[in-house]
Amino acid sequence: MSSKKQGLSSIGKKVIMALTGFFLMFFLLQHLSINLLSVFNADSFNEVSHFMGTNPLVQWVLQPVLIFSVVFHFVWGMKLEYENNQARNVKYAKYNGGANASWMSRNMIISGLAVLAFLALHFYDFWIPEINTKYVIGDTSGLIEGTENFRYHEELVHKFAHQPWRVFLYVLSFVMLSLHLLHGFQSSFQSVGFNHTKYTPVIKMLGNIFAIAIPLGFIFIAIYHYNVHPH
């Protein structure tokens, strides 16, 4: 039998969403682990940050994959949303979506766009200055100008210590991330075809833990630095 395939199939699309999602979730875990160091030990945080910021494997392999994943996840997410919206031209006069599916699962586009907006702020805060310092100015030393001290912890603290609105925006964004993950984690497993009477409940539980713990960790860090350092 011949296949009538044209472009990527509906299943192919959801698998791409799942795989990029998996990578992003792995990234979140890694990001949180490093950031937590900032709470316990500034020196370790600085050392790991410098390693990540200068290691060629991280910079030229993982970082592009990450950027690709982020872009792909967003672009495909929006494309899918558009296509799915187009699959029903005449809408229902009354649609009781809450009767059969969670808010999170029905509104991934909203939580996703909120996270995208956050990413813009986050890039503006950290990633653009970082890239600017390293590749435009060409300073890969990781040091605060004129000192022997790493700049990473200092920059982090600087962002949160004096700006309650930023802390607030971060907290809000992480709540949205949590909502996104509450559906996304288990959904990714379903998309790649993993569904098992025994293990799926475990995955759902792990997903809920992950979706709450990771954003909570980030929130904790933001609030910690806001509270601990002098205003």
């Binding site: 296949s3 199939s9 959801k14 799915n84 059969n100 379903q190 790649v192």
Partner: protein, 250 residues
């Protein structure tokens, strides 16, 4: 016996070309023991007697198995009671004075023919693209008991095969995705030794046809399995994904 008076907001559309609109109707003295479709019969009798065009809707067996009936009632496929087709929904689920929205199952792949009647032949075309086992009907196959099938697999295949093809999954899905319907058929055959020979090709072909019909993509909200009158599980969608992916790698 308690009786009720209701306001119905029903989608009226003369034919496929007509734009259509919601129209209000009143029905009185509805018995709580009536089925939803018997309530619609009362409305139609009323319309005919007053010289109006009765509301067209699909229905046939009225015992929940043929899959003909297809109304979207108060924002849910087959109405508010779970595990039930419209024909098995009874008026005791409503109360006096209620306003009930009645719309056709909506999806571009289910175009409206008239009023609440939609064209679900896209489902047939998906089945024609691979929803079968390529065996001749000569009867000269092996003995029915020649291959033992583990009871667990046979039961799972039966659960998947219970699909009545009503389209509630598509109507309910915010994306108008048909993956529960397609996943159920692919699963039924993938679980049985007879169906495994063609399992990979079947998944490729049926998914391709599903996409060509213009159904949306699955985002795993799980609404379909909640609204499915036969309680078909989305684990069948996961199995379809597996079959499809392993087929793609071949």
């Amino acid at each position: 016996m308690s009786e009720m008076n209701l306001t119905l907001k029903i989608w009226r559309q003369k034919n496929a070309a007509d734009k259509g609109k919601m129209v209000d109707y009143k029905v009185n003295s509805i018995s709580e023991h009536m089925s939803f479709l018997e309530m619609m019969d009362v409305l139609n009798e009323q319309l005919i007697n007053s010289g109006d065009d009765p509301v067209a809707f699909d229905h046939d067996c009225r015992e929940g198995i043929c899959g003909s009936c297809s109304m979207f009632i108060n924002g849910e496929a087959h109405g508010p009671v779970k595990g039930t087709t419209t024909c098995q929904l009874h008026m005791r689920s409503f109360k006096d004075g209620d306003t009930i929205y009645i719309e056709p199952f909506r999806a571009n792949a289910f175009p409206v023919i008239k009023d609440l009647v939609v064209n679900r032949s896209s489902f047939d075309r998906i089945q024609q693209s691979g929803g079968f086992i390529s065996v001749n009907t000569s009867g000269n196959t092996q003995d029915a008991n020649a291959t033992a099938i583990p009871k667990h697999d046979a039961d799972l295949a039966m659960d998947a095969a219970a699909c009545i093809g009503c389209g509630a999954c598509v109507a309910t899905c915010k994306n108008s995705s048909a993956m529960l319907f397609v996943g159920a058929k692919i699963s039924q055959y993938a679980l049985l030794p007879q169906g495994q020979v063609e399992a990979k090709d079947r998944a490729q072909n049926m998914v391709a046809q599903m996409d060509a019909e213009g159904f949306g993509n699955c985002t795993n909200t799980g609404a379909c399995e909640v609204e499915c009158p036969k309680g078909i599980s989305i684990s069948n969608i996961a199995r379809m994904n597996r079959e499809y992916l392993s087929g793609s790698l071949k």
